[in-house]
Amino acid sequence: MKTIEYLFPDAGYLYGDVGHLFLFDQLFETHRVVRTPLSATPLFAKEDVDFIYLGAMTERYQRDVITKLMPHRERLWELIEGGVHLLLTHNAMDNVGQTINYRGEPYEALGLFDFTVDVQRWPRINQFILGDFDGLGVTAHKSQFTTTVFGPEMEGKHFFTTLKGMGANPKDKREGIHYKNVYATQCMGPFFVINPPVMKLILREMGLPEDLPAEASGTAAYETRLAEFGRPRCRQLMEV
């Protein structure tokens, strides 16, 4: 039996990220699933877990989440090195970088990975994303206030390379984090719901059956998007 932890679902899980829970609840139906509220100590701080998920949140809650996790960052790193599956989507990824510069006021993030995030109110960046993850196509969207700058230690640790749409920033096609079993992306989707091949890969890594709920329609939707996003005429409404 695996132990699955959803971190702080009460902090929002914005932008459809709650959809990940619909998928995970069904995938991990026979496993131990724990929802940790913002007021509680994370389960991973007290015992080993196999899978952790954290979704998008408001910038206000982002600070709370970082404060909450800060005392446990060494423990989180120990779990990452030990192979825990850690999935982070949208601005949940920002929390594990070095600093978040919120409209000119920088504050410290968890410092687990070598990147910094800049948050501005304008413009809001809206893009569709077509990417390549080791030969696997991925599709998603971005709607965010942020741009990210990767430091030298991120070399070889990004999740995928964008073919259309920006990666970490308009000049960097590298998107997200893939280090050991950490899968983090600043995209929305919900990313792991709308990219079935990636979710199947994660299940394979966890030693679990790869069957997905609603797999036929999910795969058809994914393949439709992949073909459509790849067409030359399919382009961004706003170039950043």
Partner: protein, 460 residues
């Protein structure tokens, strides 16, 4: 007042000439006059003469309805005013509305403007118009691309609202009722209505934790999402006492609003049946009261008011019905509310729900469907709902969402277009057909409606 100058006059002439010309050809052209004027004179908006009194309506949902009710009452009372009635609520729409009311020499011809203003546009409209009254319907999560989340919109409104504006706020909404705390304000509320059940299952609750203490808020009555009566068990934050309270509905045709300061109760014709209609009507009446109109005057004028039928439209064909209800594409709360209404239909017999809220896909830029994961599709999981159809190039995404929401696969049908979907339906199998439409009147939706109307008429 800023000196207007020749550039302003040329800009005004060009904008008014354009507006008149397109009107001759039967078009609205709501945003273009402002854009023309701004291109000629970048400072055009700053130079416009402001009407003596300006009232602005903003908020996530209900702006257009409230604006329409207020404007129709004012028109019935013979009071000339500037108004943007058809959802042209962006900056350019507001400017175009004011251009209409300027004479050829740039003088304002009305003393009053009642404008609905999109939340994002308040940052450019409010500093210049300096509204005397700002009425806020409600704040919810909206388009992810434009509006992000309610913290962002609240912050933006707090920056935009002039300190001299009187605010009219919904005390049942703990998010919008906290706006611009130093401004003068009055609150409205709708009491728990007879037989009204709480709705605690909505996926979206933008205020599940206290914004100060971060502890879960206790809802004594959760109407839907974060709307209702609630208290923080730690700091005691709770709903403000309302100055105007809609207390009950009489005979399903009359709403009664209590004015707390005078302990008086006044009855008004009920314009719409569902709770969002009641909120919108309450706000419209409160706004008119705060503008100085007497209850009896409003009650008399409101009897003739009709709200835009595109939001809930019902047609009967013998013993069958076709209902069109607006879900608003990209807005998860509006779509959830539409699904809640459908899931709560009484005596509708066998129901077929067709989700045809035309995707806003442009040929070259694909739509983000993340919002459908915030929509309670589970509200459609009712025994009387026999079929749920989806149509668009994103149909597989919709089907995936419905299945992850535990909708039975045998109930789901899909098609590449609205027309194809409508042709898949045999109306003899149903008593009620419900179309969930989007904000655009896309040709596909009209085609689907026409096909179904023809079938329903033939089946009488």
């Amino acid at each position: 007042m800023m000196k207007k100058g020749l550039r302003f006059i040329v800009a005004l002439f060009a904008a008014k000439w354009f507006a008149r010309t397109v009107r001759l050809f039967g078009h609205g052209g709501s945003h273009t006059p402002a854009r023309i004027a701004k291109r000629i004179d970048p400072a055009f908006f700053e130079k416009i003469e402001r009407p003596a009194k300006v009232v602005c309506i903003t908020g996530t949902n209900g702006k257009t309805t409230v604006n329409n009710i207020v404007s129709q009452v004012l028109t019935k009372l013979g009071i000339g005013h500037a108004r943007n009635l058809f959802g042209s609520n962006l900056h350019a729409g507001a400017v175009s509305t004011l251009i209409e009311m300027l004479d050829w020499r740039g003088r304002m011809t009305v003393d009053l403007a009642v404008l609905e203003v999109d939340e994002i546009s308040t940052k450019t409209v409010f500093p210049y118009l300096k509204p005397d009254i700002v009425a806020v319907t409600v704040l919810f999560r909206d388009s992810y691309a434009r509006n992000a989340h309610t913290d962002f919109i609240s912050e933006l409104l707090n920056d935009a609202i002039p300190e001299e504006s009187l605010l009219i706020l919904n005390s049942d909404d703990l998010i919008s009722s906290s706006l611009a705390p130093d401004n003068q304000r009055c609150f409205f509320s709708v009491d728990r209505l007879p037989g009204e059940e709480p709705e605690t299952t909505a996926l979206i609750n933008d205020l599940s934790l206290c914004p100060t203490c971060r502890v879960p808020i206790d809802y004594t009555f959760q109407r839907y999402h974060h709307i209702g009566r609630a208290t923080c068990p730690s700091c005691g934050m709770t709903n403000a006492g309302a100055d105007y309270v809609t207390t009950k509905l009489e005979n399903e045709h009359l709403i009664e609003i209590q004015e707390v300061s005078t302990a008086s109760v006044h009855g008004y014709k009920q314009i719409g049946a569902n709770i969002t209609d009641i909120y919108n009507e309450t706000l419209a009446i409160v706004l008119l009261r705060e503008m100085g109109f007497q209850p009896e005057t409003i009650a008399d004028a409101i009897t003739d008011v009709k709200v835009k039928s595109s939001r809930f439209d019902e047609e009967t064909f013998g013993d069958k019905r076709m209902i069109s209800i607006m879900g608003k594409d990209q807005n998860p709360v509006a779509t959830t509310r539409a699904f809640a209404v459908i899931g709560g239909l009484k005596d509708a017999g066998r129901v077929c729900v067709l989700i045809v809220n035309e995707s806003i896909d442009l040929p070259f830029c694909p739509e983000n469907l993340a919002y459908v994961y915030d929509v309670n599709v589970e509200y459609l999981d009712r025994p009387f709902i026999k079929t749920i159809g989806v149509a668009s190039q994103r149909r597989h995404d919709y089907v995936q969402r419905l299945l992850l929401g535990h909708i039975a696969p045998e109930k789901i049908i899909s098609a590449t277009s609205e027309k194809e979907l409508a042709n898949m339906i045999n109306v003899d199998d149903y008593d009620t057909i419900v179309l969930v439409t989007g904000t655009s009147n896309a040709p596909g939706i009209k085609e689907a409606q026409t096909i179904l109307r023809t079938q329903l008429a033939a089946s009488r």
